[in-house]
Amino acid sequence: MNKITRAFISVLRQNNSGYSSATLLGRQLSYQSDLSLDKIYPNARLQLYTPPPPPGSGDKFNGYIPMDKLEISYSRSSGPGGQHVNTVNTKVDIRFKLAEAEWIPTKTREKLLQVLANKLNKEGYYFIKSDLTRSQQMNLADALEKLRTVIRAQEVEPVAPSEETLEKLRRRQEKAARQRLQLKRDRSKVKADRRAPSGVDF
């Protein structure tokens, strides 16, 4: 059995719903030119697929936020804008319980609970709102970006000053002290010169 007949039979065996069998057959025997993708990217996975979410690497927040864990609600934005701003729900409100957010690494979550303690509501929800743009989707993107910034800010370790910097600061402090004491001594001498000499003078 030649390749064409084999392909034809395999196509007819498949369930052809919607997409016509002629085009399906065409795809099976699809045209591969000199610029076909399998020639340009020989080792790549050519079929479109949905990659799994990136695994959390323990301590660091990898930027992945599971959408089903957030409660997103929409409302009307404030500010000028006429009929559009009065009628379209462009403001986005994202809420989630900070203590139960498993997608934030434990260490960062604890830090956030401390830092954002005054920002959580009674039920322990942290929320972020955005009405930056005229579009709901762009506002949602903005809100998520804000959330990621807040989380990442807790993971940034402040850079310890270098030895040279510390040395510089120490020398500055010492110089300042030296000058202050010199000034005191000078004033003291001036005042002493104004007074009558005390004690036995040689």
Binding site: S17, G18, Y19, A22, T23, L24, G26, R27, S30, Y31, Q32, S33, D34, L35, S36, L37, I40, Y41, A44, R45, L46, Q47, L48, Y49, T50, P51, P53, G63, Y64, I65, M67, D68, L70, I72, V88, T90, S135, Q136, Q137, M138, L140, A141, A143, L144, E145
Partner: protein
């Protein structure tokens, strides 16, 4: 380090053949010695190289190019580059997502098949004029929030928000380049097929467009498909939607149907001759 060794070897080789280094053979490095001759006596004295009268002698020099008041050469010819490069600038007439949604809702476009320039032009509501340097359609973000159609669409340019809007609804968007001849064919396919000319092959994009079409972020047709799959997740995370599992979609075959880089029509190869009268296709003989 090997490079240095070679040059030192070269220097030693030269030394072996050149005459002995003597005071008379040496010369100082350029610009290391200044001329210490003072301007005195017959040749250096009198006006000291400043000439007679004028701005030169008075150390009040005229600027470079100045021609003592008359219009200088460099000021004579105006430069008004209003149309510079206009014949090279590509245009992409816009289609808003709102328009597209209306077309889909009113059944002017068949969404059960992949959508490309030919589909859009055949609807009769949109037209492309390749002769006026229109290189295809771009999808704009007007109507972004209300876009609900699930389509497999191929345009020539789309912004990130638009790509997100299409993929959010489970669709697939791709940006592809068509050279002007291919565009003329696609703008009115029926008229071209009536000519009875074999289908040509599509050419590669010009240099300044290659970067765009090989980037997975723009869903370019020359980009790595694996990168595109990854970028889909990245965009879903950025714009805050759950990426629909396209493999589990019933229309997976249709949604992932893509043209080859040399193909004009899905299902037809370059080199084939379509005979509309006899309703046949003449193909190239496989040698």
């Amino acid at each position: 380090m090997a490079h240095l060794r070679e040059s030192s070897d070269k220097a030693l080789k030269l030394l072996r053949t050149l005459p002995r280094v003597q005071i008379g053979n040496l010369r100082p490095n350029p610009n290391s010695k200044q001329n210490d001759k003072r301007g005195r006596a017959q040749h250096g004295g009198d006006k000291h190289g400043a000439g007679n009268k004028g701005s030169g002698q008075r150390q009040n020099f005229m600027r470079l190019g100045y021609e003592t008041g008359n219009q200088a050469f460099y000021m004579r010819f105006p430069y008004e580059p209003y149309y510079k490069g206009h014949h090279m600038k590509r245009e992409y007439p816009p289609i808003s997502l709102l328009q597209l949604q209306v077309l889909v809702d009113t059944n002017r476009i068949d969404v059960s098949q992949p959508v490309d320039i030919a589909t859009l032009c055949n609807s009769g509501l949109l037209s492309l004029k390749p002769a006026e340097l229109q290189y295809g359609f771009q999808l704009t973000d007007e109507g972004l929030d209300n876009f609900k159609a699930k389509i497999n669409i191929e345009v020539q340019h789309a912004s990130e928000a638009v790509i997100a809007a299409v993929e959010r609804n489970g669709g697939v968007i791709r940006t592809a380049y068509y050279d002007p001849r291919s565009l003329q064919i696609l703008a009115n396919p029926k008229k071209w097929f009536e000519k009875g000319v074999p289908i040509p092959q599509r050419m590669l994009p010009p240099q300044d467009a290659v970067e765009y079409y090989t980037d997975a972020k723009n869903r370019g047709y020359l980009a790595n498909p694996e990168e595109i799959s990854k970028e889909r997740l990245v965009l879903a995370q950025k714009y805050g939607y759950e990426l629909p599992r396209i493999e589990d979609d019933a229309d997976y075959e249709m949604l992932t149907a893509a043209k080859d880089a040399r193909q004009l029509f899905l299902g037809l190869e370059p080199g084939w001759l379509v005979n509309l009268v006899d309703k046949t296709i003449v193909k190239l003989k496989k040698t």
